[in-house]
């Protein structure tokens, strides 16, 4: 079986977000592989290391030239080869799922791993949209995973708690913190990664059009009162805070 692991490139979580010409401007921002996707890369490697019959692990990224860096990170972590569909067009998850599904079919994929939520666009849709296109089951917010033969078992979070599950491959799994601790690429592996295949595809091969238009972006600048109360006298501070909550904010009766 081959595993496809999706890799996106996003600003580092602590990076400041800037807006220019009504869109987020990433110029000069430190970009990293999306942490949620990194759990997927790590999990693919661990599944192989745990003895599952994994032939190839393939990382896929769709995006501008710079996302190569994220693919190089995945290759240095241990992925076998990478596919980069190069485009500067922003594709919504439903459109993007067409590309992922086509590649999954062409590469004889049995398991797709994708981050549970994108750290830039906050979308959770790609895994589910891809699963629907392929007619596969999906497991979202997964924090435990095992493969035996073609049976996938594990645990994932749901609205009101968590569930253990069982499904037959092929399947789509969305990953999150808690699933594993991603490894750091070592220098020898970074060197080795340079020789691994990084295939370049053109977006036009996939016949995909965006279905959502991006109109505008604005930074959230909600003014907060920042009313600070000195905590040296706990009694007085408590009384003052409750008074503010009751009479100024009117959130307590």
């Amino acid at each position: 079986m081959n595993i496809l692991t999706l890799v996106r490139q996003v600003p580092d979580a602590e990076a400041r977000v800037k807006i220019n010409a009504q869109a987020v401007d990433l110029e000069g921002t430190t970009l990293v592989i999306d942490g949620m996707d990194e759990y997927g890369v790590e999990e693919a490697l661990r599944l192989r290391e745990s003895g599952a019959a994994v032939e190839q692990i393939i990382a896929l990224a769709v995006g501008p030239k710079r996302v190569e860096d994220a693919l190089r990170t995945a290759l240095a972590m241990g992925v076998d080869r990478a596919i980069h569909v190069e485009t500067s067009e922003r594709l919504d998850a439903v459109a993007l799922s067409r590309i992922v599904a086509q590649i999954a079919q062409a590469e004889n994929i049995g398991l797709i791993l994708v981050g549970g939520q994108e750290a830039d666009w906050d979308s959770q849709a790609l895994g589910a949209a891809t699963a629907e296109r392929l007619g596969w089951p999906q497991l979202t917010w997964t924090n435990e995973l095992k493969i035996e033969g073609d049976v996938l078992t594990g645990r994932h979070d749901v609205d009101d708690g968590n569930e253990s599950f069982r499904a037959t491959l092929p399947a789509v799994v969305t990953t999150q913190q808690g699933l594993n601790e991603p490894r750091y690429p070592t220098l020898p592996n970074i060197m080795k990664a340079k020789k691994k295949e990084l295939r370049k595809d053109d977006l036009s091969q996939y016949g995909v059009q965006p279905m959502v238009r991006y109109v505008n972006a604005e930074i959230q600048t909600r003014a907060r009162r920042n009313h600070m109360i000195d905590g040296k006298d706990p009694q007085a501070a408590a009384a003052q805070l409750l008074e503010l909550l009751r009479n100024e904010a009117k959130v307590l009766s």
């Binding site: 439903v94 999906q138 991006y214 505008n216």
Partner: protein, 316 residues
């Protein structure tokens, strides 16, 4: 029609359903407002729904007793097609955002995810949504005979009941066999108000010190003022609290009238889940803690001293 899939639990219509009714009324999209109730033994929910919609479609089937992404997607897409829906609205809960993309693919429709505002111009529907860990508000737009939307909980005021009750109809569904088998479930129940429904939330971070302190301070204060209880990821990972209480990027998104953070540092991943609360109150012994940057009211102090005083004061 505007098809809204009702969210309900324990025989009660969820607040998020009423919020979607408001979203539908404000959206400018065409057609009567139709609530779709999926489940088993849902007569009560269907009756309650009738007050908010032009019509209520009910699928009361044993197969639908528990939520399943493939079944919910199949049912919703089928009804949307048969009813020639212009818009399909689904709650922006974890499960809603899980099956909504499948509905969009089935209908070959554009998908606007986690909308906080909806407006129409001509045949286009514009949605605002949060991106970049809720630090940016983005506007996106889609066009089509049918558009699938998830609505972020807490973003619209709950609708008032309409003057006349909508008619109820039973619907027939052709459902697939789900391919995921649930082999175990652990439901994290608390006796308190559900986080996404709570008007006031008290959240504890690692700064409260121990699971015992969490009970004494966080639960203690929540009980004294009638609030829900939240936790940071650090506290959940340490095993002090159940995951169901986690607020943040990988936990719940909440937007209460007041959010009281005790011993919480205010990491971006936490802020993304609570930064839109109407009032934010922080108690932290470190005056430099990032949580103070988003706070309306802040006390620099030790939770061990301030919180017992607060509880005593609140009980007065």
């Amino acid at each position: 029609m505007i098809l809204i899939v009702a969210e309900h639990a324990g025989g009660k219509l969820g607040k998020s359903t009423l919020e979607m009714v408001t979203a539908a009324r404000e959206s400018g999209r065409e057609g009567p407002i139709t609530l779709l109730v999926l489940g088993s033994g849902v007569a009560e929910v269907a009756n309650a729904s009738a007050a908010y919609a032009d019509q209520v479609l009910v699928a009361d089937l044993p197969e639908l007793a528990t939520y399943n992404a493939e079944l919910w997607a199949a049912a919703t897409a089928q009804i949307a097609q048969e009813g020639e829906a212009s818009t399909v609205m689904i709650g922006g809960s974890r499960s809603g955002r899980e099956y909504a993309p499948r509905v969009a693919v089935k209908l070959d429709a554009p998908y606007l995810e986690d909308a906080i505002r909806l407006t129409s111009s001509g045949s286009a529907l514009q949605a605002q949504r949060y991106t970049y860990l809720a630090r940016v508000t983005e506007t996106v737009e889609a066009e089509g005979p049918v558009i699938v939307v998830t609505v972020k909980p807490g973003s619209f005021a709950p609708a008032q009941a309409a003057g006349t009750a909508g008619e109820q109809y039973d619907v027939e569904l052709t459902l697939p066999t789900p391919r995921v088998e649930v082999t175990g479930k652990s439901v994290e129940k608390t006796s308190r108000v559900a986080l996404t429904e709570a008007d006031v939330i008290v959240t504890g971070g690692r700064g409260v010190g121990s699971p015992e302190n969490f009970s004494a301070y966080v639960e203690g204060l929540a009980d004294a003022i009638g609030a829900g209880v939240g936790a940071t990821r650090a506290v959940v990972d340490a095993g002090w609290r159940p995951y169901a209480e986690q607020v943040g990027q990988t936990g719940k998104t909440v937007q209460p009238g007041a959010y009281i953070a005790l011993g919480v540092s205010g990491a971006v991943q936490h802020l993304s889940g609570m930064g839109k609360s109407k009032h934010i109150i922080a108690i932290n012994k470190d005056a430099e803690a990032p949580i103070f940057k988003v706070a309306d009211y802040g006390i620099v102090g030790d939770v061990n001293q301030i919180v017992p005083a607060l509880i005593a004061e609140a009980r007065k």
